[in-house]
């Protein structure tokens, strides 16, 4: 950035005049004034008596509605953790960590337990009762990792027998039609959200189908997983990151 430089032509034109020397009386006045100022400065401090603060007058009054509000509860983090263990094959915490850790999809539980809202009684850290972005990011990331692992386990060649699949308990079809997708999507929807997709908002299945198609299309020939498998992993991830999954 350029700075404006003062210009000689814009300098104020001040006439040089000679100032008369101060008189002795003026000097005396100045000395006395200074002494008086010094005396005042060195004197005892002025004591200000304490007084209780008076409340500020209200500008206006507003009624506060204290009636109970029905808001969705946050799933306790312990339940959330247990749900993850259940959804992804009844694994123990350290097994989940080991399974999700490959390919840098996840690191270690201990890095995240506080972010998930768990209390730490030893350190007197309280339980978090409201979600926060860090918490959602952690669970979302973990869910994404485990969804990919579940696709690998359930659908990727060689396919696991239907009764042993942990998440994708259906037979996938290539490039499913809307009806074929809806039938399979319902399996995931019921698993994660606990109710049939037909009871969800009307466009939910269609939107997830669009997501499936979009992801599958973008991953043609790019991934160790087939495009459809990648599509199902994306649908799984989107469901596990759905607000209804973590609220109840």
């Amino acid at each position: 950035m350029r700075r404006a430089q003062p210009s000689a032509s814009r300098a104020p034109q001040v006439a040089l005049v000679s100032r008369p020397p101060p008189s002795r009386a003026a000097n005396l006045r100045a000395v006395l004034a200074g002494a008086a100022w010094l005396c005042a400065a060195c004197g005892p401090a002025r004591v200000i008596a304490p007084s209780p603060p008076s409340p500020l007058p209200p500008h206006h009054e507003q009624a506060i509605d204290t009636t109970p509000k029905q808001r969705p509860r946050m799933m306790p983090p312990e339940v959330y953790l247990r749900a993850y263990m259940m959804w992804f094959g009844g694994l123990a915490p350290l097994d989940v960590q080991a399974r999700a850790r490959g390919k840098q999809l996840f690191d270690a539980w201990d890095d995240y337990l506080a972010a998930l809202g768990l209390p730490d009684y030893r350190l007197d850290l309280p339980r978090q009762t409201q979600t926060n972005s860090l918490m959602l990011a952690v669970f979302g990331r973990l869910g994404e990792a485990l969804c990919v692992r579940a696709v690998e386990h359930d659908l990727h060649s060689p396919k696991t027998p239907l009764d042993q699949r942990v998440v994708f308990a259906f037979d996938p079809v290539a490039a499913p039609t809307a009806a074929q997708f809806a039938e399979r999507f319902d399996v995931l929807h019921r698993g994660f959200l606990g109710y049939p997709a037909r009871l969800a908002p009307a466009d939910r299945t269609a939107r997830y189908h669009a997501l499936f198609d979009d992801v599958a299309h973008r991953h043609k020939g790019k991934n160790p997983l087939t495009p459809d498998e990648t599509g199902w992993a994306a649908v799984c991830t989107a469901l596990i990151q759905h607000p209804e999954t973590g609220l109840y």
Binding site: R71, P76, E78, M86, Y121, R122, A169, V187
Partner: protein, 617 residues
């Protein structure tokens, strides 16, 4: 043509095997699963829910009482009481911790286990490792690496100063004549969570499995009572260098030792450890904890860092000292005690009043052998050397071996001073001061808190906080409650019995020559036991008196209802909930203070059912 058509119409109209459920039903079922099973419903459970004839009430009854329910309710009170202690509370009493030094034996490096402060007749080793610098070529300062060049210790010296023991941490049958049940892979199944630090399982070469340990001869003694030993020494002066060959001044005789030479003293007390050369770690070293090193807190066990899903589903384990092992089980005692009350649907007031508890192997070891180790310090000079336990060691089942983490046995009666969680080590150490103990009980069980008056604080010399301006508004309530803990030492479980500790002690009332314990146990400002000034009747009633006061308060049931309802609704109760809360409290009392009836009433309420009735997204 008409009959087939009619048949098709009838077929189409036939009911689906799945009942038509609405979204709120599904959400209610999911909420119930989360709160009673601890997880969302499985596919199979959803399918069962969709069958005609599914009965919500019957389903709730079936699961109201399972482990998921108990864990859910336990969390409510664990969140309030936070009954776990971390490393900020160190538990490393010298009588309990066996540290070790590496020396050169005739066949190579070996470990020698010893206790800091162990009394020995030999003044060269009294209070230190039983091997001298002449024996080993090294000095072994506390909490630091050895100094000097090691030379071989002869077998004769080793045999004279040490013995070989098959310790409890390596043998589950250590009390037998020929222990053989050695720490093996199957221990992971038999004793889940009992994992020794790797260094305790191998010899100094890092490969040879440890099958027995060499320990100083005094530490291996097993008598329960020793004679008070007086060496005639007065102890070194501050700053004076230790005698040659020692790293510390040899211990001098305490006032207790001088006054009681030759008298019997319990080896299960810290006083016995400090004043007798005959007190050791007992059979199989069961009165001591191992440590893989010489530092203050050497690693001893691999312990889980977090167990939000319970001890059987740990999240990472790291080597931690023996003190962490004790802290872990103190916390587990409170959890299992709560679970027992909830699972058996016992009177919830027992949480505060019951003299019973449940213990496993590590807790049994603690109560039988360790609890007295912190007693009695300077109190011995006031005649207290044989501690009166808060928990009677004789009440603890002897059958539990220290490594048996999995077996939990009931203890019907811990003794006359026990009172629910209020006298458990976890509560007494988590809330170290008497006021902290009273405060948390007041908040968690009466749902009230201390809020100071908005008054100007003026300087005051008034020692009585119930009278001091600005303090009195809270302390008039707090101090008498804190007085219930007068006879339990702060940050400890040592009980101060009335026959040894009158409210005012004549030795502590004299102007000069008071024993040192007078300042720690008695309050100079009031010349009474610390904490007892506010209410001597409360001091004599003890923690059981506080339990009676809390559970007898009309606010107790209301507070339980509030705590549980708030947790299950996921929101704070507001004034509009007051009538409902009162009804819940009434039902709780009418049901004999059983938690199951209260929870059922909350789960069946529209407030719970509608708590997730949000608009669809």
């Amino acid at each position: 043509m008409r009959w087939p058509l009619l048949f098709l119409v009838m077929l189409a109209a036939a009911p689906d095997t799945r009942a038509e459920r609405a979204l709120p039903d599904y959400r209610y079922f999911r909420a119930l699963s989360i709160d009673l099973l601890g997880r969302p419903p499985t596919r199979d459970e959803l399918a069962a829910f969709e069958q005609p004839g599914f009965d919500f009430d019957a389903w709730i009854s079936t699961h109201l009482g399972g482990t998921g329910y108990a864990e859910r309710l336990r969390r409510v009170y664990m969140d309030l009481l936070r009954l776990e202690v971390g490393p900020s509370f160190q538990f490393v009493p010298n009588p309990l911790v066996l540290r070790r030094q590496e020396v050169r034996g005739p066949d190579g490096p070996i470990y020698v286990y010893y206790r800091r402060g162990q009394r020995r007749v030999n003044p060269s080793t009294d209070g230190e490792l039983c091997l001298t610098e002449d024996d080993t070529g090294q000095e072994f300062p506390n909490n630091a690496a050895p100094i000097g060049i090691a030379h071989e210790v002869s077998q004769a010296v080793l045999d004279a100063r040490t013995v070989v023991v098959k310790p409890w941490w390596l043998y589950a049958d250590y009390r037998g004549a020929t222990p053989a049940d050695r720490n093996a892979p199957d221990w992971a199944r038999r004793f889940p969570g009992f994992q020794l630090a790797p260094g305790l399982l191998v010899e100094p070469d890092g490969k040879t499995p440890t099958t027995e340990v060499r320990v100083c001869r005094e530490e291996a003694q097993a008598v329960e009572t020793g004679a008070v030993y007086a060496s005639g020494r007065t102890g070194g002066k501050k700053g004076e260098p230790p005698p040659a060959g020692r790293t510390t001044q040899p211990p001098g005789d305490s006032g207790f030792a001088r006054a009681n030479k030759g008298r019997a003293v319990s080896c299960l007390s810290g006083t016995g450890f400090q004043n007798s050369v005959e007190c050791g770690c007992g059979i199989g070293l069961e009165r001591c904890m191992p440590g893989a090193g010489f530092v203050n807190e050497p690693p001893a066990f691999l312990l889980p860092t977090h167990t939000p899903l319970g001890g059987d589903a740990p999240f990472e384990s790291t080597p931690q000292p023996a003190g962490a092992w004790e802290r872990l089980w103190w916390g587990e005692e409170a959890k299992h005690f709560l679970d027992k009350i909830l699972l058996e649907d016992r009177d919830f007031r027992e949480l505060l009043t019951s003299r019973s508890t449940v213990v496993n192997g590590p807790l049994a070891q603690f109560y039988r052998f360790f609890a007295g180790a912190t007693c009695c310090g300077g109190a011995a000079d006031l005649g207290y050397s044989d501690p009166t336990p808060l928990v009677e060691p004789g009440a603890i089942p002897e059958a539990l071996v220290p490594e048996d983490t999995a077996t939990w046995l009931p203890v019907a009666d811990r003794g006359p001073y026990a009172s629910g969680i209020l006298t458990m080590p976890i509560f007494l150490t988590k809330y170290g001061s008497r006021r902290a103990r009273a405060h948390v009980a007041y908040s968690a069980f009466l749902c009230r808190d201390f809020v100071a008056d908005a008054v100007r604080l003026a300087p005051s010399t008034e020692p009585d906080l119930t009278k001091r301006p600005g303090c009195s508004s809270c302390h008039q309530t707090l101090e008498p409650m804190a007085a219930y803990f007068t006879r339990v030492m702060e940050s400890d479980w040592t009980f101060l019995p009335a026959d040894r500790f009158p409210m005012s002690h004549p030795l502590c009332s004299r102007p000069k020559g008071q024993p040192g314990a007078c300042k720690t146990i008695y309050d100079p400002a009031f010349t009474t036991l610390r904490g007892g000034y506010a209410s001597q009747p409360h001091a004599e009633a003890g923690p059981a008196g506080l339990a009676a006061e809390l559970t007898g308060s009309p606010e107790f049931a209301s507070c339980v209802a509030e705590n549980v309802a708030q947790s299950l609704l996921g929101r704070a109760l507001v004034p509009e909930d007051a009538a409902w809360k009162a009804e819940l409290a009434k039902r709780f009392v009418a049901g004999g203070y059983r938690m199951r009836a209260l929870v059922r009433a909350i789960l069946a309420s529209p407030r719970y059912r509608d708590a997730n009735d949000r608009r669809q997204r």
